[in-house]
Amino acid sequence: MRAARSLRQPGLYIGAAGVVSFVAAWYLLTEFFTLPRFSKLPGPVAVWSEFTSRTPTFGTSVFTPDYWKHAGWSVWRVAQAFFWATILGVPLGLFMGWKKVVHDYAFPVLELLRPIPGLAWVPLAILLFTGFASREAPIIFLAFLPAFFATTLNTMLGVASIDDNYFRAAACLGSKPRHVFLRIVLPGALPYIFTGLQISAGVAWFSLVAAEMISGEYGLGFLIWDSYVLSQFPVIVIAMVSLGIIGYLFSAAIRLTGRFLMRWTTQGVM
């Protein structure tokens, strides 16, 4: 139903036209006119033929196991970072929004840590996870941190957004604290929680790629940096395009989950 309806909306076609224009401009700049500044950049034709080649010049295409290994590692790392950010961030945010004393304890700390750029954590992340899981844990940790902040703070705002009358009505109807938490605070905050999860997934990918560039043996971020060092320029763009597509799929999965859990809103969250 939704799909059939969206086929009739002009937005879909305008969006497609935007993508086509972008690729066309990219093609004209890099491969047709080969303007000076763009002459070293791989063009769409070069990237596409490499990406779909059974025998890629630089050894990375959809037919090589290497490509899937890099993509798989990145997805697995982001999934872990996102999982921990959600599992820890949502409950913390709910309690911060619900109980003033939790807010007063935790908010200043979060607000002091949040502005610190993810990359500034790199040395500490490496020191923190020496020995035990020393290869993977620092990378996941760096992706986890900003995701955790985004989830926690949005969840907290979600609780604050709940109309006071719902709490009053719940009190009138004889709720115990656990009912207020599970049946008012949690569902009431869901729209904001899912906004937070979208942002969280975005920043997790963002930091993951940076972390993989610095340390890592696999992953799309590693692939980008490695290809740059080895002058395999089309591979850089292959990895970038892959990041775009995977990020979009992540976002869509979160959005669909949100829609399913929030059937009570007449229009979706975002």
């Binding site: 009138c172 049946r183 569902p187 009570w264």
Partner: protein, 273 residues
């Protein structure tokens, strides 16, 4: 049926006692008998809602006491937390939008551990049917009209068998036709299971149609100005609105309210000047 007498004795409420000292309610006394439908009217912002919120247990009072069947439920020293014996229906509605109609209605008895989920749903469906809402149980509040939402909210209150219903302008945002229907459903429900009702409104016609007594409040600070007994028989039909007695009562209540409204208006002018 003999329970639910609400006593308001010498109640005062000062907001911000250390600062601006806004006197919202001043030495207000009103006894509402068990099972009485009492409608309170008065100018906007006069402190009626303050009184209702104190009776509900949402905040304390500065002087006096509020009793339920002789037991103090609100005084300067003690405010009994809100509970299912005094249920509020709010001005803007407070159905939980994330629960279906059925879950909303069943919520009270289930969280209080009084009924099993299945039994609460069964009783809820019955109440909804009586309120003319059969078949909407699995819809979400957002899918209903404002008139239906109000009835669901009243069902959600009634299922708990409260001693007192506290209604704060529940039909305020409705058009005249929807309002008329909602009032009739409320009266039907009241005739079937009389509760003590504390009902706030600005609408004098609504007050006369519903009430056993109409209490006219003064402009801020809130005090009882006049009490009119509305002696129409129950069950009432909308036809009482065409009777001569209705016109007499309407004139009386209109005079009383108009005087206060004028004072409130002039006070507003002074504040602005």
């Amino acid at each position: 049926m003999a329970t639910g007498a609400l006593g308001i004795h010498g109640v005062s409420k000062v907001y911000d006692p250390d600062g601006a000292r806004v006197l919202a309610v001043d030495n207000c006394t009103l006894d509402i008998a068990a099972g009485e439908f009492c409608v309170v009217v008065g100018p906007s912002g006069c402190g009626k809602t303050t009184l209702l919120n104190a009776a509900a247990g949402f905040h304390d009072i500065t002087a006096g006491e509020i009793t339920l069947d002789g037991r103090v439920i609100c005084s300067p020293r003690h405010t009994q937390p809100p509970g299912a014996e005094r249920i509020v229906v709010f001005q803007n509605g407070a159905l939980f939008p994330w629960m279906t109609v059925q879950d909303n209605v069943a919520y009270g008895p289930v969280v209080q551990g009084k009924l099993s989920n299945a039994e609460a749903r069964r009783q809820g469906d019955e109440l909804l049917r009586e309120l003319g809402l059969a078949g909407v149980g699995d819809r979400y509040p957002a899918d209903l009209s404002s008139g239906m939402r109000r009835r669901v909210e009243i069902a959600r209150a009634l299922i708990n068998d409260p001693k007192v219903l506290l209604l704060d302008e529940p039909f305020r945002a409705m058009d005249a036709l929807t309002k008329g229907v909602a009032q009739e459903f409320l009266l039907q429900a009241y005739d079937r299971m009389p509760k003590t009702v504390f009902f706030i409104t600005h609408d004098l016609e609504e007050a006369l149609f519903l009430a056993d007594r109409v209490v006219v409040m003064t402009t801020r600070p809130c005090r009882v100005k006049e009490i009119l007994t509305v002696d129409f028989e129950r069950p009432r039909s909308f036809r009482v609105r065409a009777s001569r007695r209705y016109l007499e009562l309407k004139t009386a209540v209109f005079d009383a309210v108009h005087e206060e409204a004028t004072r409130a208006f002039e006070a507003g002018e002074r504040e602005l000047a």
